[in-house]
Every structure is written in structure tokens, then in C-alpha cells.
């Protein structure tokens, strides 16, 4: 009963927000434009007929995207139609790009409406837990840009497990225990390097060797305030212990590693030759490459250590939602071949299903040699912040 009154309030609120953001509808109209004409295919299942745009509408553009083969996996056409309204918490930053796909879904399904709220993933995770504890969950789905936030919600029992058939296309390493969450896009740690100053062989295949590599001393950049960097240090701490992680940070700092506000800047600086190499998630370098195909920018990956961590953006069904079926169906859409092609070619994330090729000429996830680590454990950040502060690396 109480739930009902809250929902109606939410609808009022939604109308209000929709009314005041009327301009948004105009923008999203642009998106469907690519395939909105005659090249769409009619979907036949569900309540009404819908037009699913051609694959090209889901693809990004630019040097790295041209000439890709058609993705495998389950197409949206094979999935039940989406209808009804869904409240979504979506992590900030990259989530802005992921959200474009949600807008496309709303274009495709006229009866499907999403009310989204965006903040940092960790902040949303804590909000989800608080709301569930207070018996007042506001959202049905949590789409986080990193696994630690998903792990935090899962550890606090604020989720409802996803059905096996929803998570099945994704390798088990990128799913939460008890199907608490499922990865929808991969984010690999990497070392962007300037190909005019180094060759791939100059970059060691272990992060621990980097401070002792003369070619890299004092010429690297990092962004310690960035969440992905902290996850990387957490992984190092879990794999090698606090002392080793602290010593590594100290030796990198003493080698003159320069601090940047984010990893896109680092990747650009490497492309410009201002830095020889850096620490960044893989897709930042691909963005630079996509707009500047001639940039002397290469990507190296370490092996079986924290430097090769593959974190994921993923979706979680929030405890207490009444839209369970719609959530499952929505997550299946995120794992469709169109969605995976979109994430791969627009945000240059690693696809989570086997039928879709990685962006650019990157190795596949299997070839990456990520460390053996439970991604949910990355939410244990307190000791990480402590050791970063001891190492005088401001996080």
C-alpha cells in the first residue's frame, strides 16, 4: 500500500522532471536518426510492433570502428519488448556514455520510460544500501561503473539475484556471487606509452618492475584521485600485501611520477609526447586514437598482476523492486549484441559477451591475463586510502 503512494509520488516527480527537461527529448531524437528510416527491422514480439534500428545506429564512428564484423550474441530482436517505467541509478562519468544506450532503448520502445539519477557509483551504492535499510528503495536497477560499488551493495544484502539465463552469457569472473550483479562492460588497467619514445618490449610485463625501469623513470603520469586507480592499488594490496603496495607507491612517487586530474589527460599527454607513459584505463587511449589515428600512442598490459586488473561496469537488481521482470529484461538488453557493440565502439569498453570483438586491435579479455581476484573485494578501500596516505600519494 505504502509502496503505491510512493510510486504515485514518484510518477508526479517524474512528470515534473520530464517536463522541465523537455529539451532532452529533443536530443535523444537525434540518436535514433541513423536507423530510423527504411533500414529498420520490425520486431514482432511483445505488445506492439517496434522498429529496431540497423546495427550501424548502435555503432560509434571513427578510425577504430570502421570495418568491424557483425557482432554475435543475442540480438535485441530476439528479446521481449520493454514496456513500463524503470527507475535507474547510474554511476557518473562513463555512465553518461552508457546512458545514451538507455535513451536509444526509450526511442525503440515507446512504452518504455527510464527515470535516471546519476552520481558517483560509490555514493549511489551507499544510497541504495541506506534506502533498502530504511525500507524505501527509490530505484529498481543500479548500474555502476565499477565492481567495488556493486560488491558493496551485495555485501549489504541490498540486491535480488538475477536469474541464471540473464547472467549466463557473461564469464563467471565478471559476475557477482549468488548472481548479485552482472558485468556489462569491461575496463582494463593499462599502460599507454608513446611509440616514438618506447617500443612495446620496453614496458615490463609486471607493474612491480616499472620503478626500476630506467626508460620509464620520471616520465610517467598517474591520477591517484581517480576511483579506478584506487581499485588498482586495492588489487595490489590484496595480491601482494600492504607493505609491497606502499613501497611501490613510494618508489613511483620518488621516481617523479607526475599527478594528473584524470586518465584521459594522461593518455592525451602520452600521445603528445609530453609523457613517455602512464597509468590509465584502456579506453582513454582508444578515445585519443579514434580522433587522432596517427597519434604515436600504444597500449601495453602487464600480466597476472594488479596492473592487468579488469574491472567492470555492471548492473544489479535492487532489493524490494516491484519491477523484477522488467529489470531482468532490461539487463538482458544490456547484454544484447547491439548493446555490447555500442559499449565497445562508443565508449571503447571491453565487451562482456564472447560474440563481440574487443575495440580496436586490443587482445581479447582471455588473452589479457588479469589477476585472479574477486572484484567485489575491491570495495574494501579504507586500508588502501590509509596506505596511500602513508606513501604520501594523495587519493
Amino acid at each position: 500500500m505504502e509502496r503505491d503512494t510512493r510510486l504515485s509520488r514518484r510518477q508526479v516527480l517524474g512528470t515534473l522532471a520530464a517536463g522541465s527537461t523537455a529539451g532532452l527529448a529533443g536530443c535523444s531524437g537525434l540518436l535514433g536518426g541513423g536507423g530510423g528510416g527504411g533500414d529498420g527491422t520490425e520486431g514482432t514480439n511483445g505488445s506492439g510492433n517496434v522498429e529496431i534500428p540497423a546495427l550501424s545506429a548502435f555503432r560509434g564512428s571513427g578510425a577504430l570502428v570502421e570495418g568491424r564484423s557483425a557482432p554475435g550474441g543475442t540480438s535485441i530482436e530476439e528479446l521481449p519488448n520493454l514496456s513500463g517505467s524503470l527507475n535507474l541509478y547510474i554511476g557518473g562519468g562513463e555512465g553518461g556514455i552508457y546512458y545514451e544506450f538507455v535513451e536509444m532503448l526509450q526511442e525503440i520502445y515507446p512504452e518504455f520510460q527510464v527515470f535516471a539519477s546519476s552520481a558517483s557509483s560509490s555514493s549511489l551504492a551507499q544510497t541504495v544500501v541506506e534506502e533498502v535499510e530504511a525500507g524505501a528503495p527509490q530505484a529498481d536497477v543500479f548500474w555502476s561503473i565499477d565492481a567495488s560499488s556493486l560488491g558493496f551493495v551485495a555485501d549489504n544484502d541490498a540486491y535480488e539475484p538475477l536469474p541464471d539465463e540473464v547472467v549466463e552469457p557473461v564469464p563467471s569472473g565478471f559476475r557477482g556471487e549468488d548472481n548479485a550483479w552482472v558485468g556489462v562492460a569491461g575496463r582494463a588497467r593499462s599502460i599507454p606509452y608513446n611509440t616514438e619514445q618506447l617500443s612495446e618490449g620496453d614496458v615490463p610485463n609486471k607493474v612491480r618492475e616499472i620503478p626500476n625501469t630506467d626508460a620509464l623513470r620520471g616520465t610517467m603520469g598517474w591520477a591517484p584521485t581517480y576511483g579506478a586507480f584506487k581499485s588498482f592499488v586495492t588489487a595490489m594490496r590484496l595480491l601482494r600485501g600492504e607493505d609491497a603496495a606502499r613501497e611501490w607507491l613510494v618508489s613511483m612517487r620518488e621516481a617523479g611520477t607526475e599527478q594528473y586530474p584524470n586518465e584521459f589527460v594522461i593518455s592525451s599527454q602520452v600521445a603528445d609526447g609530453a609523457l613517455t607513459a602512464g597509468f590509465a584505463n584502456h579506453y582513454y587511449a582508444l578515445r585519443v586514437k579514434n580522433s587522432r589515428p596517427d597519434a604515436p600512442l600504444g597500449l601495453a598490459f602487464t600480466e597476472n598482476d594488479a596492473g592487468a586488473l579488469v574491472n567492470v561496469a555492471g548492473a544489479l537488481r535492487i532489493e524490494g523492486t516491484e519491477k523484477g521482470e522488467l529489470v531482468n529484461n532490461f539487463v538482458r538488453h544490456l547484454l544484447s549484441s547491439e548493446a555490447q557493440e555500442f559499449f565497445t565502439t562508443v565508449s571503447f569498453a571491453y565487451p562482456m559477451i564472447s560474440g563481440v570483438a574487443p575495440p580496436g586491435d586490443l587482445p581479447t579479455v582471455d588473452q589479457l591475463n588479469p589477476p585472479n581476484i574477486d572484484l567485489s573485494e575491491l570495495s574494501d578501500l579504507e586500508p588502501t586510502l590509509e596506505l596511500m596516505r602513508e606513501a604520501d600519494v594523495l587519493g
Binding site: L16, L30, E94, G96, M104, R287, S347, T384
Partner: protein, 542 residues
């Protein structure tokens, strides 16, 4: 002087009894309002209890102490520097005839319209390693600029974007200053400096302190600037813990931040305590008393220089972002919509209106009362102002979920947060203008048979109206700039200019941030026009 004192004391004698009865009602109202505002913050205390005995260890940890010392030092330096910059500029624009005086006044006030974190971004983009200016200077044989990062850089940026608080409040005091008193002092052979020290300074001190208090509390609660300038202060410390699933620890640190606020308020109340000199008669207000002669041309270098660094530099950097090629992918939800601008204006107007409604009784009461309750009611709201937006948002999230779920993530709660945060900015100007209302005038109206309300309407209200307009405009423009509370408390799919700027910046899409940043500056700049326009109105009153 003697006559004025006599009139004032006569006035208060006549109304002593009446004042007590209205006074009590108003004081209780002010106290109730303040209590409501402070209440949600009490939820933080509840959060802290979950830490148990660890709370004490964490409080006295050496790292916490280091952050505390650094934070206090930053507040002290920025506040001091803002007074040093703001007061002379106010004197210059009010009392000296600068060429293009009106223009320079706007220029000097304008940095307030730019969020300091955008200023910090601009500073880093320009002066940072391989920044725009660093690159431009390199061929000229300047290999390396001194680092912009760190304590000094943060202090400079914060001063550049907060001194207008001191400038505006001091200016308001100067404009309503009775210049005939200064002239009287001068005819009595007091030197210019002597006259300034003995007549002007005491009368504008409440204005300066009001502005300095806003600067100190802004600095204490600002997160973006220290973060970008890599200075670890309390807010940054809290934010990192908040983002690391340690909300209770963040709550504990927030309480420590409140302790610092209390100290600042105590200091302010000691400085501002003697306000007897602030009661003014309507005289030859705001007259030009400072003749710079030929020096007035070089004197404009001061506002010009500040304008160039604080305004032109960030606008240039936004322009550069705009022109630079982006990372190269389609940007649907990341594309700018004018509705974000409208949303910003909409909530900011609501916040300004709400803040005035709440600030009015508190300010009117505290301007004329010295009772303990009135003092507390006057000070309590500043706790909200000193609360970092993110902390207030955390407190309001748990408060609304536990107590009034119907308000959770609604516009009313968001506006409530703004009112809690920014209302003190309205109290200051209203209070200052109220103090300068000549009690004798009100009493004259009363003896001429006007009712209390009619006297308020015909005498007090018109005189405090400029204060109200300034207060509303200040709240409006700080709300436009507010980031963390907006991010957390806004309703689903409700984006404003700053939340949009934040989103695109997080995604590394600086180019996308350029247009909204400029829109933000323009709209906020218009609210500055309100502040300065009402000053103009007051001048033409004479």
C-alpha cells in the same frame, strides 16, 4: 554626535516595553527557524555512534590533526587576503572617482559568479605543467613556472573567487555611510587616514566582518578547489572517505569541521560585538571623499589585473576547451540542453525566495537585540553554511529516509538544503542594512500615529530592501554554483548546469563543459547586476 546619541537613547527609552514583547516573539521564531535548519545535521551524530570507541581514536589521530591545522591555516590566509583585496577595492569604487567606475565595480564583483573550482581548473590548465601559458612561455626562455599546486595556489585561487564577498558587504556599508561625519572630522583637522580610521572604519567593520565570515566559511566548506589544487583539507579528506564506503567516518570528520565553524563564529562575534557605531542617520551617503587626482588612472590597474586573472583567464580556457577536438564519439545524453540552465535558475530562485523568508526574522531580530537567544539564533544558521554540501546531503539523505521519506529526492528537499546552506548570506546584508536604519525615524513615525506594521512598511522595509535584494542575489548565485548537494539530492533526471559540467568533466569531455560554464557565468553575472542595480537605486534616492 551628541545629538544623535541623544535621539537614539530617547528612542529606545520610549519603546523599551513594546520592544520586549515583539522581541520575544521574533526571537522565538528566529530560534525555531534556526533549530529546524540545524536539526538534520544532528543525524550525523547518530551516524557517528556506529563507530563506537573507534571514533575517539580517529578524532585524535595525528593525520587528522595535520589536516586540521592545514585547513585552519588555509581559512586564515584566504580570509586575511580577501580583506586585504576586498576592502581597498570597495573604498576605491565607492569613494574615489575611477574612470569607468560602474564598469570596474561590475568587474570586481564578477568573480563571485564563477565557481571557484572552475577557476582552479582554469589555473591548472593555464599554469600547470604543460598548461597553456606554460607552453606559450617556453619558447621565450621561461622553462618552468613555479608550481600552481599546493597550499599557495589554493589560497590564491580561493581568494580570487571569494574576496567579492568582502568587497560587496564593505561596499554596502560604505554606500550607506554618513559622509558628513567624515567631512566633519576632516574640518576638525583630522588627516585623511585619521578620519578613515576613526570614522569610516568603525562604521564599515560590521560589513567587513560579515564578508570575512562568508569567505572563511566558504573556504572551510569548499571541496572542489583544494581537491584540484591538491591540498588535503577536511572536505577533501571527508570526500575521499565518503567515496570509499565510509560514511560514518565522513560523518565524524564533519562534526570536527563543525567545531572549527564554532570557533570561527566565536571569533567573528568578538570582532563584530561593538556595533553601536553602526547606527546611522540618513546623511550625505556614499559621497566621494577620496580624490586620487592623476593617480586614478594607475589605480584602475588593480581592478583590471584582478579582472584579467579571475575572469578573462577562465573564459579563455573555456574557449580553448570549446575549440579543442573532443575524444571523438557521439554524445547523446552528454550533449548540452538549455533545460539544464532553466533548472538551475528555477531551483536558485526558489532557494533565494526561501532564504529571504527565513533570514528576514533572524536578521531583523539579531540586528536590534543582544539577548543570548537572539545571538544563538543568529549564529546557528552559519553551521549550515559551513557544512560542506556533500555532508549536508548525506545528513539530509538519512534524515529524510528515516523521518520524512515523502520528501526524499524532491525539489522541496533540495531547496531546503540550499536554504540551510546559503541563508546566512542573506542574513548578513539584511542585518547590516537594518542596523543602519535610524531608530529615530521609526519612532518618529510611531509618534505621528503610524501603527507598528505601518511604520515597518513605510520606514524600515524600504531601507532594508537593498539588503534583501543583495541577500537574495547572493543566495541565487551561490545556488547556481552549488555542486555536491545538487548531485545527491536532485530528483531523478533533474540536471542543472553544474551537474552537467561535473558529468562531462568526469568523462574527460572538457569541450562539452565550455558552453554551460559560460552560461553559468552569464546568468550568475546577471544576478550580480541585481546587487549593483539596487545600490544605484539607493544612490539616486539622495
Amino acid at each position: 554626535m551628541r545629538v544623535r546619541e541623544w535621539v537614539t537613547s530617547f528612542g529606545s527609552r520610549v519603546t523599551a516595553d513594546e520592544a520586549t514583547s515583539i522581541g520575544t516573539g521574533l526571537t522565538l521564531l528566529a530560534a525555531a527557524v534556526s533549530a529546524t535548519l540545524v536539526l538534520p545535521l544532528g543525524w550525523l551524530v547518530v551516524d557517528v555512534f556506529t563507530l563506537g570507541s573507534r571514533a575517539i581514536d580517529l578524532t585524535v589521530a595525528p593525520t587528522t590533526m595535520r589536516v586540521l591545522v592545514r585547513t585552519v591555516a588555509l581559512v586564515a590566509v584566504v580570509t586575511g587576503a580577501s580583506v586585504v583585496v576586498g576592502v581597498p577595492l570597495a573604498v576605491l569604487t565607492v569613494q574615489a572617482k575611477l574612470p569607468l567606475q560602474r564598469f570596474w565595480t561590475v568587474v570586481i564583483a564578477l568573480p563571485l559568479a564563477i565557481p571557484s573550482y572552475l577557476g582552479a581548473f582554469a589555473a591548472v590548465s593555464a599554469f600547470g605543467p604543460r598548461g597553456a601559458l606554460t607552453n606559450a612561455l617556453a619558447p621565450l626562455g621561461v622553462p618552468k613556472l613555479p608550481t600552481v599546486y599546493g597550499f599557495v595556489g589554493a589560497a590564491v585561487v580561493l581568494t580570487l573567487y571569494t574576496y567579492p564577498y568582502v568587497f560587496l558587504t564593505t561596499r554596502a556599508s560604505l554606500l550607506s555611510l554618513d559622509a558628513s561625519l567624515v567631512e566633519a572630522a576632516r574640518t576638525l583637522n583630522a588627516g585623511r587616514w585619521e578620519a578613515f580610521k576613526r570614522i569610516t572604519l568603525p562604521q564599515i567593520t560590521p560589513g567587513i566582518t560579515a564578508g570575512a565570515l562568508l569567505v572563511a566559511l566558504y573556504t572551510l566548506s569548499d571541496f572542489g578547489t583544494p581537491n584540484i589544487m591538491r591540498v588535503e583539507v577536511f572536505t577533501q579528506f571527508i570526500y575521499a572517505r565518503y567515496n570509499a564506503f565510509m560514511r560514518d567516518y565522513a560523518a565524524l570528520l564533519s562534526l570536527q569541521l563543525f567545531a572549527v565553524t564554532a570557533v570561527i563564529l566565536a571569533i567573528e562575534s568578538r570582532i563584530g560585538i561593538d556595533e553601536s557605531g553602526a547606527y546611522e542617520s540618513r546623511g550625505n551617503r556614499g559621497a566621494t571623499t577620496l580624490d586620487l587626482g592623476r593617480w586614478r588612472y594607475p589605480a584602475t590597474l588593480l581592478p583590471a589585473g584582478i579582472g584579467a586573472v579571475a575572469i578573462l583567464l577562465p573564459i579563455g580556457i573555456f574557449g580553448m576547451w570549446f575549440l579543442r577536438t573532443g575524444p571523438g564519439y557521439a554524445t547523446g545524453s552528454m550533449s548540452f540542453s538549455w533545460s539544464y540552465g532553466w533548472n538551475s535558475v528555477y531551483v536558485s530562485l526558489l532557494a533565494a525566495g526561501g532564504a529571504i523568508l527565513v533570514a528576514l526574522p533572524i536578521a531583523l531580530r539579531s540586528a536590534v537585540s543582544e539577548s543570548v537567544v537572539a545571538t544563538v539564533a543568529d549564529r546557528a544558521p552559519y553551521v549550515g553554511y559551513a557544512t560542506p554540501g556533500i555532508v549536508l546531503a548525506i545528513a539530509l539523505v538519512s534524515f529524510s529516509l528515516d523521518v520524512v521519506p515523502a520528501l526524499y529526492k524532491t525539489i522541496p528537499l533540495l531547496v531546503f538544503a540550499y536554504v540551510v546552506r546559503f541563508m546566512p548570506q542573506a542574513i548578513g546584508p539584511i542585518r547590516t542594512s537594518r542596523m543602519q536604519v535610524d531608530r529615530g525615524l521609526v519612532e518618529a513615525a510611531r509618534t505621528l500615529g503610524r501603527s507598528r506594521l505601518a511604520a515597518f512598511r513605510s520606514i524600515t522595509l524600504p531601507l532594508v530592501l537593498p539588503g534583501i535584494a543583495t541577500g537574495a542575489a547572493l543566495v541565487f548565485l551561490t545556488t547556481m554554483k552549488e555542486l555536491p548537494a545538487t548531485l545527491i539530492l536532485r530528483p531523478l533526471r533533474f540536471d542543472t548546469l553544474v551537474t552537467y559540467i561535473w558529468r562531462v568533466q568526469e568523462a574527460g569531455l572538457y569541450g562539452q563543459a565550455a558552453v554551460p560554464a559560460l552560461v553559468l557565468v552569464v546568468v550568475s553575472g546577471l544576478s550580480m547586476a541585481v546587487i549593483l542595480a539596487q545600490e544605484g537605486g539607493r544612490k539616486s534616492d539622495q
